[in-house]
Symmetry: C2
Subunit: 465 residues, 2 copies
């Protein structure tokens, strides 16, 4: 623990001081009496080069040690830190000793020094963080998760752990996973009805699809709160954009209106992109070069833009002007498609757009009804290249209006007794939004398959490791 990470060693001034390098070998090259070993410990993108000048060693055992070195081997190397003559690396190590800690024989180790397909790497999820791409994804993910906490904590928000297991499907946001301790084998053979009184929670229970409703109970006590936790959808869609298990961030703010919500969302995204651009620069440069050109430019432009505000009604008018260009013809009342969202950001606004005041029919029951009786104070934040990255709204805080809306949708107000209580007792205007964390990581890294931006993706037929 007292031995610095390679990331730290990289920033030292090279004055011939002794350093110890611990990590995994990425490459070994030999050139006459020189052996070059590049070591990575995952703390940063770059490897540190360790050079062995065999003409300087009197002990022959060094050759035996070096013979065991191949890609994936774990080593401890000591030597002197010196300036590097090579481009792109500030320092290197003139090595004086090496211990091979754990071998990785070239015949068996799946990660050899060549380019592997992302599909292949998905099959070895337990090893893929050892590659350039997945190491970089992991670092960006970690840094941005922390940036989310920093953003909210520094603004007086309290982090709330909303429940994962829930007995209510309040949001009705889609298919849910059931959680049970019933013995399914015995149940199947029983031929009888299910007796939920025997189940762990005494009733049907599920994995949460959103922490929002519970977050609202805390926002109406602590004023500003946020959640950041796993959510689940049992949707049978095998795409590059859906996961059965994903992490969501959901701030909720009391005494806030839609305008405050828009301001918060804009500041939030700019903060995250700024952190990525600043603190994950090396990793982003790799993504920009090898995964998707232009991502740094896009992030830079979002950070420096002023988000355009546009009502849904105005957005549809813009789209209708160009209706011929779309596969799905836009009309008032339609859900905006990806192609529409891209058009709004890339062609109409030339930057991020917040679309507000959607028809109530295409949005959730808890969104505040406008005076026109037709639209709700919803907002979707759209960014160039991706489309929707954030969805949110001001909430309906008027008891009667909310109850009517629940009934209108054929739901039972009694199921929402506690949610309605927030409107019965000291109700306040409030607003919030949701950000899918993996969508954010896709956007920042330029990766295209959502299964590649979470350590162990869960999807139809996939729960390995």
């Amino acid at each position: 623990m007292n031995i610095p990470l390679i990331k730290e060693i990289m920033t030292l001034s090279p004055e011939g001081q002794t350093v110890i390098i611990r990590g995994w070998v990425r490459t070994k090259r030999e050139l006459k009496h020189l052996v070059f070993i590049e070591v990575n410990d995952g703390s940063c993108f770059k490897n540190i080069q360790c050079t062995f000048d065999l003409s300087q060693f009197t002990d022959q055992s060094i050759s035996e040690q070096l013979a065991e070195v191949s890609t994936g081997v774990s080593v401890e190397i000591s030597g002197k830190l010196v300036p590097s003559p090579a481009a792109g690396q500030p320092v290197e190590v003139t090595a004086s000793s090496i211990s091979v800690i754990g071998k990785a024989t070239a015949e068996n180790y799946p990660l050899q020094k060549k380019r592997h397909s992302l599909e292949f790497l998905r099959e070895i999820g337990h090893l893929r963080a050892r590659t350039n791409t997945f190491g970089a994804v992991a670092r960006v993910r970690s840094r941005l998760a922390f940036a989310i906490h920093e953003f909210f904590q520094h603004r007086g928000f309290q982090y709330v752990h909303t429940p994962i297991i829930t007995a209510s499907d309040c949001e009705g946001a889609g298919a849910m996973f059931q959680v049970t301790t019933l013995d399914l084998e015995a149940l199947a053979k029983s031929g009888k009805a299910v007796d939920y009184s025997k189940d762990f929670f005494g009733k049907r229970s599920y994995l949460t699809v959103s922490g929002q409703l519970e977050a609202e109970t805390y926002a109406t006590a602590l004023s500003r709160v946020y959640t950041f936790g796993p959510t689940f959808r049992a949707e049978n869609s095998n795409t590059t954009r859906h996961l059965a298990e994903f992490w969501m961030v959901e701030p909720e703010v009391a005494f806030a209106h839609l305008e405050d919500n828009m301001e918060l969302a804009e500041a939030f995204l700019k903060h995250l992109f700024n952190v990525a651009l600043t603190d994950c620069r090396e990793d982003l440069e790799f993504f920009n070069e090898r995964i998707q050109q232009g991502i740094i430019e896009t992030l830079d432009s979002v950070v420096n833009s002023k988000f355009t505000h546009m009502t849904y009604t105005d957005a549809v008018k813009e789209l209708e002007k160009n209706a011929g260009a779309f596969e799905f013809k836009p009309y008032w009342g339609c859900d905006l498609q990806s192609e529409h969202e891209k058009y709004l950001t890339e062609k109409v606004a030339g930057g991020p757009v917040i679309v507000t005041d959607y028809p109530k029919e295409i949005k959730a029951f808890y969104m505040k009804l406008n005076e026109d009786g037709k639209t709700v104070r919803a907002m979707d934040v759209l960014v160039p290249r991706l489309g929707e990255i954030i969805g949110g709204s001001e909430r309906e805080e008027r008891l009667e209006v909310l109850e009517n809306r629940i009934k209108e949708l054929g739901m039972n107000p009694e199921d929402y007794w506690w949610y309605l209580d927030l409107r019965r007792f000291g109700t306040v205007p409030h607003a919030g939004f949701g950000l899918g964390f993996e969508r954010l990581i896709l956007y920042v890294t330029g990766m295209t398959n959502i299964r590649d931006v979470i350590p162990y993706p869960r999807a139809v037929g996939q729960a390995d490791f």
Copy 2:
């Protein structure tokens, strides 16, 4: 959003400037022509007092507004910030206007100005964060969650989201919840065997009991990682110390031995307690006064102590000297009971103790075997008043030894193919530990029922909200 929180207003220098207060009324008192309203917005423990001098108002509507004010009502008050003559509050507001935003009629609102039992408050989990106790718990919880991230991020650790749904019960740590999309009603009536090929993941799947094994896969790529997420136990134990759903923190460090692990755990706890003592002072003073005397002193003493190190064998010797005092007679090979752990911290060491090198029979399969062949490099961190707060170990990094241990326990090495791969390819010594977040919060707040330190507790028969 641009209106400061009460926490921020409390720190302003009172110079008669205009301020706007938004929050929920805790109390209203009347004294001749003066009306005192205490408002809380959950941003801090303290209420801010707003004084209405009715002799100064010409508009009679003020009385109508004030008549609607009762406990739980949401209000917006504006006035001038002035020094407070009252003890314990630096500032107060000489109010010039008030709007009642949301009412809370005294007949219906469950949270009146009196002391409510914790049992009663558990039934209104959606409102209990509006009380002194649960507001304070929520703030401490939020601050310490952030402190966990700060501690690890500043030390070069990467945050890893290990999976929640898993198809393997690798750790064998206890009863698991099954996750399914099978139609249980149809299944029950079928009278046939369960066909898991029809289930969402194509096989039996569960909620995770620990992210450790997956964290190890990332530690052996990124060197230093930690998890912080929900974990689950379907144990049918209805106690004040168990939850079915709880949050765990699990750091894992490559190239670390047991000694490094002990050092890390000690620094970690001291950091967390320091943050609580410094940043949650007001809340802790409340707990110290009203919930459990002496908690501040205990935390202070832990922060200033040097943790005692003791092998399990030595610990048992100490306990045997005093065997008569225990309900469970201590002997070499026994699991340490709560009473033993308390004795070690309070009587033997007079402070925190890290007990190491437990018999392999009472510890998990992945812990590194000592040369004696009988004990493993496990460690439990014990603190006064609570007992075990952290459990961890150096991991078995030798492929053959680990395989033998798995077989010895009647488990199947093939189920652990990916975990064993970490030992096949570039294995390194590594170590880590787990901290139950709710146990930490219990310790810091002095609360005694674990259901009171998580927003929505899940336990046998309990999945409300």
